[in-house]
Symmetry: C2
Subunit: 151 residues, 2 copies
């Protein structure tokens, strides 16, 4: 479906406007689908991202700064995100002994199990969008996106 039909555009769009809208809308479709996956697990996208960052640390605890800089959407509110994960016992939080300003956040076994359950669903999600494009088209899309956002 063309973007013009989706937003029921009354007048013609410039190529520039079209591209921007297309990008915004596509991202929207993707997040919606992803939220559907997470919903039964009662996780928000951002909570999921934090868990994945923590797993990526491979045992090494992460402090708030580290988590924040690895998130795609820089929320200023890592504290409250971690609070929610703590309540669900998916992470632990302790004061860093070397620098008491810092917090050490670590994923628990319960958190790791949850991610393991989600892993195959995430792969399906990723592949689903990519399946209509060839490898070349995907590479191309990546390059164009990178070029687009850099100015």
């Amino acid at each position: 479906m063309k973007i013009e039909e989706i937003i029921k555009a009354t007048s013609d769009l410039t190529l520039e406007k079209r591209t921007l809208l297309n990008l915004m809308y596509t991202q929207n479709v993707i997040s919606d689908k992803f939220n559907e996956i997470l919903k039964p697990f009662e996780l928000s996208t951002e909570q999921f991202n934090v868990l994945r960052i923590l797993r990526g640390q491979k045992g090494k605890p992460a402090n708030m700064c580290v988590i924040q800089e690895r998130m795609i959407a820089k929320t200023s509110n890592t504290t409250r995100l971690v609070d929610k994960l703590l309540l669900k016992e998916l992470v632990t939080r302790e004061v860093c002994p070397e620098n008491r300003r810092k917090m050490e956040i670590e994923i628990t076994d319960k958190g790791l199990d949850l991610l393991k359950e989600l892993d195959p669903l995430v792969v399906i999600h990723e592949d689903r969008f990519a399946q209509n494009l060839t490898k070349e088209e995907l590479e191309n899309l990546n390059n164009l996106l990178e070029k687009f956002r850099t100015f």
Copy 2:
């Protein structure tokens, strides 16, 4: 900057994952920039979208359903968005005389003036991202995005 550096990936990403992340991140850069533009005007992106939809009506009032279906991100909360615009006197809201379930929302002159002020800034915003790509590349990007989100 490559997406791997941005999210400081520890391991290699599949092409599928890369593309998805690239898309999410690019959209994020765009919204951030757009919010910067709107900030001095004390408008949120969604408030701005509603105003533009109303202007697109060219005098014909829009009811809540119409507004909702034209928004890119379907917020369930058009009511509260319109509330905020009402407070700023950028729109009017009246009960539809033919069908008292419906509301007629219309943009005010103050709202139109605000949009007029914003128009050139919005064009600059759109062009800024497009400037590094040729017309062909932009067309290509549009096609790839459309293909990507359809499955």
